[in-house]
């Protein structure tokens, strides 16, 4: 187990290094001059030059890359070009929204998908199964930002149950903050729940048809206990894989959903930074998103080993 974790950790670090290089190179060739964007079309050339120098944009690329990585290793994410404040503060503020939003969405998505998937598989072609298939078909087809817009129309504008977007901040209390996050989390969760339901259903069906399940039933274990003790634990392995992969969708989806619901999260910060060519912020956020996905995949790998004892000894 320890060897497995160690080898995965090394590959994690190497991957991150390559990702950082890729991000830097992509932003190098991306057209757009942050100084010109800050100062507008009326600015004079000497004013632009002064700002570029102030921002350190006049230094050679290699030096800027090393400066960035060096800073990261010291825990310094740099200073935002547009906001003129430490990126770490900005990111921390935004994480307060994006992290709870994503976690809430994951929670909702798994809470919906696992029971529905198992229930559908338990009685194949029954009424529950058909309803689940229709729901998941719909969920896969409808994009999350559109669901978000419908939610706002229905629950906020029409019923007035929820704010029509925005985030009061955690300082306003847990309840108002959660209330602001609930609709976006559901909008974010539904499409992923649909995918996860389908995966759970087919994984469960596959296991139900396996020899050891028939043996268990033949030994006289009742249907519910077979499902609980033999089917579900085995079906969870493919489900965990998909869940791990979905995390990147949650972060990506957060960009769209945060914009629709006007939530000051990391996704919206990334979007704004890209528009303003706040290169410092973009680099950091993309790296953080990539880092999160890599770390999650690492955890999934470890999760396999816990779920499936056979994997523990393979490094």
């Amino acid at each position: 187990m320890l060897r497995l974790i160690l080898s995965r950790l090394i590959s994690l670090a190497v991957t991150l290094l390559f990702v950082s290089l890729a991000i830097f190179l992509i932003l190098e060739v991306l057209p757009g001059d942050p100084a010109a964007i800050m100062l507008g079309t009326a600015a004079r050339e000497d004013t632009l030059a002064a700002l570029r120098q102030e921002l350190g944009l006049d230094q050679p690329a290699l030096l800027r890359y090393l400066h960035w990585i060096g800073g990261l290793l010291h825990g310094d994410l740099g200073t935002s070009i547009t906001y003129k404040m430490p990126v770490s503060t900005l990111v921390a503020e935004r994480m307060n929204v994006t992290l709870p939003l994503s976690l809430l969405a994951i929670l909702i998505s798994t809470a919906l998908a696992l029971p529905l998937g198992v229930a559908a598989a338990a009685r194949r072609d029954g009424p529950v199964d058909r309803a689940v298939l229709v729901f998941s078909q719909l969920g896969v087809a409808v994009p999350n930002f559109w669901i978000g817009l419908l939610f706002i129309l229905f629950f906020s504008t029409w019923l007035g149950w929820f704010p029509a977007g925005g985030f009061p901040g955690w300082s306003a209390g847990i309840a108002p903050a959660l209330q602001a996050l609930l609709l976006p989390a559901v909008a974010l969760a539904l499409p992923q729940a649909a995918v996860l339901t389908r995966v759970t259903r087919s994984a469960t069906l596959e296991v139900i048809g396996a020899d050891f399940v028939r043996t268990a039933r033949a030994k006289g274990v009742n249907k519910a206990a077979t499902l609980r003790r033999h089917v579900v634990p085995n079906a969870l392995i493919p489900v965990t894989t998909i869940l791990g992969l979905q995390l990147s969708f949650f972060f990506g989806g957060a960009i769209l959903v945060e914009n629709v619901f006007n939530l000051p999260g990391l996704g919206r910060l990334a979007y704004q930074a890209l528009n303003q060519r706040d290169l410092v912020v973009i680099k950091d956020i993309v790296l953080i998103f990539s880092g999160l996905v890599i770390v999650v995949n690492f955890l999934v790998d470890i999760g396999y080993a816990i779920l499936d004892p056979r994997l523990r000894n393979r490094a």
């Binding site: 507008g40 404040m85 129309l153 504008t157 029509a164 925005g166 985030f167 306003a172 629709v260 704004q272």
Partner: protein, 493 residues
């Protein structure tokens, strides 16, 4: 019910207000969040829309009619030769941090703005300044190298507000000015909160206790926030097609005014076929500006025939100079040697007004035998790089939002590649003329030259579509300067 609780919580966080009294808090919605809160170091309009005259004040200000009014300077004299300005300052004024305002702050602010290292986006405002003297704490004498007809107007802009040496360096994140509202907090990505400045020098004029600016980029979300009561006013609503429904709703006041933004389809005047004035005129003749406004901006927006804001007193309507006339367009094209058709491209940014206009332009030009191919581009980053700097384009379309910017057609190396010595001379003359009547006459002449020479297709004035609670009074209908001046705002009971 829950919504009520939220509103109540919001109000409570500011002050406790009896239910029967008029409200004294205002939530203003804006489409774009400012990148910082210092208008003297960056260009974005959103910075001015939060801070100008609410938080910072200049020696003078622009009022809702575009006129110059005294502010931190209570009066001034201009020498007969137009080179010496003597400002008498308000006394007893304090910055939000408690430090006193006097002539030294004025000198500091202007010296900082014209320093070689300064990143002021409108440095040309300060270019004519020769010396700044402070004979006493309440007097500033500014001597100019050359006369500047718009000098006072410029001093009313956000780029020329007075900042203090103690706080200037940190104003972007923690602004300190002399205005009626002081900075309370900024939840980045969501809102900026300002509260009443209890020590304000004309505090009796101010009715509001707090102002919150909320940033909502999505047009649907803007409408939802207004309808749900989360936002009291949206002075610049993003979606014209959703504006009309507010006009019918008695809970709201929906006002269509003018901004300083002229929407023009700029042409590369140095490149064939745009170097031929007959082609430029033909393209202008091919455009039905009324239909364009209808299709691109739901009918809101005043058609323009030159490059001057209808908010400015020197504005002259030039739409009649080259009217919509497809036959004339075809004839001119034939005369110029393009009788068998012409194929050009337009680089169109992602803003709704631009991409919709580009499609309509394309359809209208097809009627005159011109094929206009649309190439999408990204504003601002890619557009500045490709069109503005590299001038790699045939035609493009953007709104030019700075006030009083007719001189962009006189600038060397500007993206239009337009060279007209007569126009340059007239604009330079106007800039120097201190007599208002003579200056306005020069501006009228300049507008006429552009209207006839068509260096860009003049389309329409970007409208200011304001929607606010019917009980809110005192917001601006037009914006002769980018701002959300709330100093005269109050709630009716």
């Amino acid at each position: 019910m829950t919504k009520r609780f939220l509103t109540a919580a919001l109000l409570l966080s500011v002050s406790v207000i009896p239910a029967y009294a008029a409200k004294t808090s205002l939530v203003v919605g804006m489409p774009i969040e400012p990148p910082g809160l210092d208008p003297t170091i960056a260009a974005p309009v959103a910075i001015r829309e939060v801070t100008w005259v609410n938080l910072y004040e200049g020696l003078v200000r622009i009022d809702r009619n575009g006129k110059v009014q005294p502010l931190l300077a209570k009066s001034w004299e201009v020498s007969p030769d137009g080179l010496t300005y003597t400002f008498r300052l308000q006394e007893g004024v304090k910055f939000h941090d408690g430090s006193a305002f006097d002539s030294a702050d004025v000198k500091f602010a202007f010296d900082r703005a014209r320093d070689p290292k300064s990143t002021n986006a409108q440095k040309q405002i300060f270019a004519p300044i020769d010396t700044i003297e402070t004979p006493d704490p309440a007097t500033v004498v500014i001597k100019l190298k050359e006369t500047s007809g718009n000098f006072l107007t410029y001093l009313g802009w956000g780029d020329a507000v007075i900042v203090a040496p103690e706080s200037a360096a940190t104003n972007a994140a923690n602004p300190v000015g002399t205005g009626p509202f002081k900075f309370k907090s900024w939840t980045r990505g969501d809102r900026v909160e300002l509260v009443r400045n209890a020590d304000y020098w004309q505090k009796d004029k101010i009715k509001l206790d707090s102002v919150t600016f909320r940033f909502i980029s999505d047009a649907q979300a803007q409408v939802a926030a207004l309808k749900a009561g989360d936002v009291d006013a949206f002075p610049n609503l993003g979606a014209p097609e959703l504006f009309a429904e507010f006009k019918k709703d008695s809970r709201f006041k929906a006002v269509a005014g003018n901004t300083e933004g002229e929407i023009v389809a700029g042409m590369n005047n140095a490149k064939k076929p745009f170097d031929d004035v007959r082609v430029r005129r033909a393209l202008m003749h091919a455009i039905d500006r009324k239909a364009l406004v209808e299709g691109a901006y739901s009918g809101f927006g005043q058609p323009i025939g030159s490059f001057f804001s209808p908010n400015h007193p020197a504005f002259v309507d030039m739409t009649g100079v080259i009217p919509y006339d497809v036959e004339k367009a075809k004839a001119l094209l034939k005369e110029a040697g393009y009788g068998n058709g012409l194929s050009i491209t337009i680089k169109s940014p992602q803003m709704a007004y631009a991409s919709r206009s580009a499609e309509l332009l394309s359809a209208m030009m097809a009627e005159a035998g011109v094929e206009l191919k649309i190439i999408p581009t990204e504003f601002p980053a890619k557009w500045i790089e490709e069109v503005f700097k590299a001038k790699d384009y045939d035609m493009t379309i953007v709104a030019h939002t700075e006030p009083l910017d007719i001189d962009i057609f006189a600038r060397d190396n500007y993206y239009f590649n337009y060279k007209n010595d007569k126009f340059k001379a007239v604009v330079a003359e106007a800039a120097k003329t201190t007599d208002e009547k003579a200056r306005f006459a020069k501006y009228a002449e300049a507008q006429k030259i552009l209207a006839e020479d068509v260096p860009a297709l003049f389309l329409f004035q970007l409208p200011k579509l304001g929607v606010w609670n019917a009980k809110v009074q005192g917001l601006w209908e037009n914006s002769p300067i980018p701002s959300n001046d709330v100093t005269e705002v109050s709630w009716s009971e």
